[in-house]
Symmetry: C3
Subunit: 404 residues, 3 copies
């Protein structure tokens, strides 16, 4: 009887986290289609290839270096030992957390689209997933979390709370992308004589498909962050839903029915809620998501029109700034005053969120700075003109059509 | 030990219903792509935007009004109280049932496509999801189900049985759509001098994608209607499969290899089986689905060619009539005579199914009648000519292409 | 208490296998999109229609004949008896294994694309799923597995090990496709005066979508092959992941950044790992997948350019040869020497894998030989020129566009 219960508990936990991993793995198809729909047609093949290649490189490097760095365990034992007596729970835990780590290059990919060289960006992704990300991860979720906790306690704050990665994943990715976008410079024709000239997106259905895939998979991202089926919380699911919905509705109004803002608004809401999804009230989640959406709509316009930064998918405002907002907002709306479950402090949330920004900018400027010097980051003008699909992959997205 | 078992039971139930909710949430992407593929290119952005906006509005209104109306519980407690000691099971139950409620505007959307104004249709959806639907839901699945049951008992029938919503969801949506389609009138150029002139669909791959997404998610719709993992039934899964397959094969023959009928045939079968999926034999399910498909193929042609009703996706025959068929058929094939598990009566199934038709028509004519008077339902002729994408969203589905 | 645990165990097992079934069902949409993206535009509707029709026919025939043949149980009892006291576990087991069986026509479909007649190929699929496949299945996983086991034991080998179907499913499908492709001959214009002239693929985004859907669903294919939640293994999940990733990276280099090789490389890796996914080390899985990818890249070129076999999606090297490789490789990398868990022998793995090749070729040549004589397999030259979409389905994939 006890053996049955233990077997069922082990099996259910492995299943739980495996399902989460698969759902977040599927999100990478969402990243791909979101980028494919948003870039011009001559960069679609490149978008698919970057996402899949980055995924593959991330897996290898996080398996060998990143995960051991963050959690202190490695996988260089025989298969039988890896399986252990918990049916390989640690292995699916690696899979699940890899899916988070691999979001870093996937997020950056959307910012640097259409003009970056292929292998230098793969290399940068590998360094982030192998070193930059797991070192920060170890501070928040991993083997060095005690250290950060004691630092915040000395400041009179609670432990920094980031349930599902507004800060650890999204803000990290978005703020790492900013230096890359700045180093690369704008696409040909994006700003002419100092005037912004929008480059039209290629395919709204693919953009929408990407957003839908991401939104669906996000429930695995957030809910399975409990990591044990006995720790699952229906509150996380409904808060994710409410933030998504808040993001959609605020984007609808602020973005004046624009389908791009609408479908990115869902993502904006979801990014804003990750950190606090287990502790805030659903109505608070709605407004946290809604405000995230306003950050995206106005931040995107400000970035692109005023700052003249050609961040193609707007990943800096979307993942970077909203991720930071999500970390801070958990310290506000998580309070019992707003119907939240408490246990968080504003000071720790602010501190942890800003720490991530500084750490990401530092890593981004240094690593991209070196890569730029050593390898170069940008396609030649001719390559960019013909497009990365032809220049890098020797094919375009619709070969039959182009032949005719 | 007992604590472990209870924790596992709670966690498994929340996981079960959360997975169901996510699968049905994903179906809304299916609704979107089915419509996008079926309408003309100038209405694709509008299709995506309607589905996502309706989803968002439905969430808010069903959270605040609909669910409390149907089940008598509300969510205006602090987050900790919402979580309770069942790990937020009531919250995921709301999420799961919301996914059903939100099908109402998603179904209607396909009927009124290409010429409806945006906000009036959002308003109608909100009224249906906030009032019309949950009031009927409360009679069948919710806090007033005793009342309806005693009425049927007085007529000598068993309780009305609608396991997964052939009647409550699909027929409700399809019969509510009929008044809207009638009030709106046909699209420009659909019937010329009384002659039907088919408007070609834009994109079979997107239509097929929509059908596939819907079919896959439907297993969450039907199987997770058990609402508890201990109540799961493999029979529901296989009956859904067999009805889908029956729908495909009958559509293949009746529709003469047409891919539109083929992919809608899968849906026809699935709509027909929802109500009786837990009580009929798999071979009966096959024929229930197959007959559903015949209703669609011939009903669609009759509706469009003879009645000259421009119901773009054929949602009245598909969801409305087949939903009614599903409710009634459960009263036939659910009998032990046909290998079914019994416990249903023809009279109750007929009564409940027809009640839904009358209730939906009444609500549809009244609500759309008022909205039409007060706000107007249809785009201007100029707007319709340029298409809802440009008129409402100021963009079309392939902006780069149109620029060239 | 014991009743609760038993109920939970039963429910969890049904849920586990149902989720696996749904994930593998979804893979059939992946087969469809992979083919749609790879064929020319005039064959896209046909690709969708074949996959869905084959699925439907497979379901009926495997329900009535195939599953009973392989496992000795049938479903011609009343619904209540089918449900039994394990909540219909046998029914979802049928559903799960059907999803495997139905891969046979889906695999073949990609090889014979663009020039095969519709109903003869449906008939061939029905014969494979009703007879050819379940007879072999019964030897490996089913009611006659003792018989094969004792044969291998006499040869001094262990039981033939094919955890998730590298051999039973993929190699069977791929080697059955070879005779069909040979009988059919190449598409018009594929080889001109003995010179190979590549026919450009139509749509890389749909090809990539297909690959992503397949890759995501594959985790259900492999992990749920445990068939019981208490038998789940995190090792299977991570080995699938590592093989996928190995496949991608080797294809990237060998295929010189080509997106077609890249996205098929993921599948190559996954096909290679099915058989041994429960017993090899993740690093071995990486190289097993990587080598699978090399087989595809070089095998595809050799098949198409040297052998001049117009196997449109390359299903013979992809599923056939790599499936065989996967069966054999499990006998190498499954050994403790390579960090594997042992219990397999090279001789049995080689024997079982080659047995499948011989059996598939025999069945393929006989069944397609008869069908070719009796019905004819190929479209007329005029039909092929206008394309199967118009010739068979009287519509093309983008009807609105063609009208203009």
């Amino acid at each position: 009887m006890e053996a049955t219960v233990n077997g069922l508990l082990n099996g259910s936990n492995v299943l739980f986290l495996m399902l989460g991993a698969v759902m977040v793995f599927a999100m990478h198809a969402g990243f791909a289609f979101l980028e494919v729909g948003t870039v011009t047609t001559k960069s679609q093949v490149n978008a698919f290839s970057k996402i899949l290649t980055d995924w593959a490189v991330s897996t290898v490097i996080y398996f060998l270096i990143g995960y051991p760095l963050a959690y202190g365990t490695h996988f260089l034992h025989p298969a039988g030992a890896l399986l252990g007596n918990s049916q390989g729970f640690e292995l699916v835990r690696f899979f699940f957390l890899l899916c988070f780590a691999a979001c870093i290059p996937a997020i950056i990919s959307g910012g640097i689209a259409e003009r970056a060289r292929f292998y230098p960006q793969v290399l940068a992704g590998a360094l982030f997933v192998g070193l930059t990300y797991p070192l920060f991860e170890s501070l928040i979720w991993g083997q060095h979390s005690q250290w950060l906790q004691s630092m915040f306690e000395r400041l009179g704050g609670a432990q920094f709370h980031d349930f599902a990665g507004s800060v650890v994943v999204h803000s990290m990715g978005g703020w790492l992308a900013l230096p890359a976008v700045l180093f690369l410079g704008a696409r040909q024709g994006r700003y002419v004589h100092g005037r912004s000239q929008a480059i039209p997106v290629s395919n709204i259905p693919f953009l929408a498909l990407g957003s839908w895939i991401l939104a669906v998979g996000w429930f695995g991202f957030n809910v399975m962050s409990a990591q044990q089926v006995t720790g699952i919380s229906g509150l996380v699911a409904v808060n994710s839903l409410m933030a998504l919905v808040g993001g959609v509705l605020f984007a609808l109004v602020a973005g004046r029915n624009d389908p791009g803002f609408l479908h990115n608004g869902a993502l904006a809401g979801l990014i804003a809620i990750c950190a606090g999804s287990d502790i805030v009230h659903p109505l608070a989640a709605f407004f946290m998501g809604g405000f995230g959406s306003l950050i995206f709509v106005y931040g995107f316009k400000w970035e692109q029109e005023k700052l003249k930064i050609d961040d193609v998918l707007g990943v800096w405002p979307l993942h970077g700034v909203i991720g930071t907002w999500g970390g801070i907002a958990a310290g506000i709306f998580g309070q019992p005053l707003f119907g939240g479950m408490g246990g968080v402090t504003f000071i720790s949330q602010l501190g942890g969120s800003l720490l991530a920004v500084a750490y990401a900018l530092l890593n981004g400027f240094v690593i991209y700075g070196i890569i730029r010097k050593v390898f170069g980051m940008r396609l030649t003008a001719e390559q960019e003109f013909s497009g990365p699909d032809l220049a890098i992959h020797s094919i375009n997205a619709y070969p039959e059509e182009r032949v005719k």
